[in-house]
Amino acid sequence: MLEQLFSDIGIIWAKYGTVYLTGIWNTLVLATVSTLIGCVIGFVCGILQTIPCAKGDNLAKRFFLKLLRIVIRIYVEVFRGTPMILQAVFIYYGMPYFFGMAFRDIWTVSILVVSINTGAYMAESVRGGIMSIDAGQFEGAKAIGMNHFQTMLSVILPQTLRNILPQIGNNYIINVKDTSVMFIIGFQDFFAVHKMVSGAVFKYFPSAFLEMGGYLFLTLLASFLLRALEKRLQGKGNYELVSEDQLVMTAGTYQFSGAAPYEEKSRDYQGEKP
């Protein structure tokens, strides 16, 4: 039995090995690129959704922010609430239908579909990640005059990224597997190779066996790399105390502009008005 299986695998590998490898490569590239773009979409949505909207703001700003939130909400609900296979068909055939332009490149449309789909999930993860950061850090930033975007980029999102890394990993692994639905529009991923090869040589099980191994290899590798990344983002567990005399030189180079630090200001407040 097992001998038969391995000899079959040997036969199809000898003939189609490079095709399988190309398939694996395509799957890997599509999943990786789309997950990265999806993360960017998710983070952008997260920043935009959390722009504070105070009662004192003018009407136009409040209207715009409200609209923005609604648009993002619709995006998330639509692309999280429909199957990706259908989204692929929808976009692939919808574009020529409405805009008269077909996709010349199957890569472009595939990356587009998977990115948009991933972005919808990531937007929610990022929103949750931002909400889990304690309000004190937002206030700390606000109190020294940082604006929303500065606060987000320098303080909040780095922490959010670290916190939602497991969810990004989840999405990545899901993408490695689920990009297989892109065969519907003709994308040559790893699974598409199985359909083609097994149809040609009628060795369904050996090919499926190969595929299982291939996917598992990809996802295990992804898990491993993500763990390593998580550890790196965790930062150092300890720190070096810096002795005073090492520092006198650098600290001593700073000169006050005036005689007493708080009385004579080098910068006049007047100069800061917008």
């Binding site: 105070a54 009662k55 004192g56 004190g136 850090q137 206030e139 700390g140 930033a141 606000k142 109190a143 020294i144 005059g145 940082m146 604006n147 500065q150 320098s154 303080v155 780095p158 922490q159 670290r162 930062g235 300890n238 720190y239 070096e240 105390l241 810096v242 002795s243 005073e244 520092l247 650098t250 600290a251 180079t253 700073y254 007493a260 630090p261 708080y262 009385e263 200001k265 910068r267 407040y269 800061e272 008005k273 917008p274």
Partner: protein
């Protein structure tokens, strides 16, 4: 009155139908060290948060160098950069080192050059005795140390006024002293400060002015020798008696 930095005029703040501050009038002059005392819930924190525009005022206005900061003409972030705030819960940035906590605001808000920002951060970290810890992260230092870094972070912006909201209340007793020492040093250097505190010794010995608040109004204000020693108002007397346990 040319030396007044902050003027709070007819400030009221309501949350829903709860009037937390009622028509508060109050002036901060250059070099003043003002202690705000009062019972829990009297609106002390809300007053400070209003001054730093962390809360929107319901009515009234705040003048900074005689210009309204609440009228929408002044850039609020630029104003906040000139008015520092130190919180009870430190509110340090957890993803940044001690040094970067003190550098980031200078870089992003004041657009200071990198080496200048670093040098200034180190200067103030040295002042609060946290220079050796520049590479540590907030999670790796004690509460008192965090608060001293938070003070350095505020100082590095070189603000004209520093607001403190119960800076020692979240600290273990043995760490209170190190933070108060830093604040005393700042007071001696004529830093303008507005301090909500339950530390009566600080209010008495360090501040030049004491404000007693109750139920959202300023009941009494004046030099500590007057407000703390011979208060005019009955409520102040009552509060002090209870507080000092006499």
């Amino acid at each position: 009155m040319s030396d007044s930095i902050l003027e709070i005029r007819h400030l009221s703040k309501t949350f829903g139908n709860h009037a937390v501050l009622k028509d508060v009038d109050f002036t901060v002059r250059k070099g003043d060290v003002t202690s705000i005392i009062g019972a829990s819930g009297s609106g002390k924190s809300t007053l400070l948060r209003c001054i730093n525009l962390l809360e929107t005022l319901t009515t009234g206005e705040i003048l900074f160098h005689s210009e309204s900061v609440t009228g929408g003409k002044i850039n609020q972030n630029a104003y906040r950069a000139r008015v520092g705030m130190v919180f009870q819960s430190f509110n340090l940035f957890n993803n940044l080192t001690v040094l970067d906590n003190c550098v980031i605001g200078q870089r992003k808000v004041n657009r200071v050059k990198k080496d200048e920002a670093v040098a200034r951060a180190k200067f103030y970290l040295k002042k609060v005795g946290m220079l050796p810890y520049i590479n540590a992260r907030p999670a790796q230092i004690s509460g008192g140390q965090k608060q001293r870094v938070a003070i350095a972070r505020a100082l590095a912006m070189e603000p004209e006024v520093l607001l403190f909201d119960e800076p020692t209340s979240a600290l273990d007793p043995e760490m209170v002293g190190e933070v108060l020492d830093v604040m005393k040093e700042l007071a001696a250097e004529k830093m303008t400060m507005l301090v909500v505190t339950h530390e009566m010794s600080f209010a008495r010995d360090v501040s030049s002015q004491v404000v007693y608040m109750a139920d959202g109004v300023i009941v009494e204000e004046g030099p500590p020798s007057q407000v703390l020693v011979s208060p005019k108002d009955l409520r102040t007397r009552e509060f002090l008696r209870r507080f000092l346990g006499e």
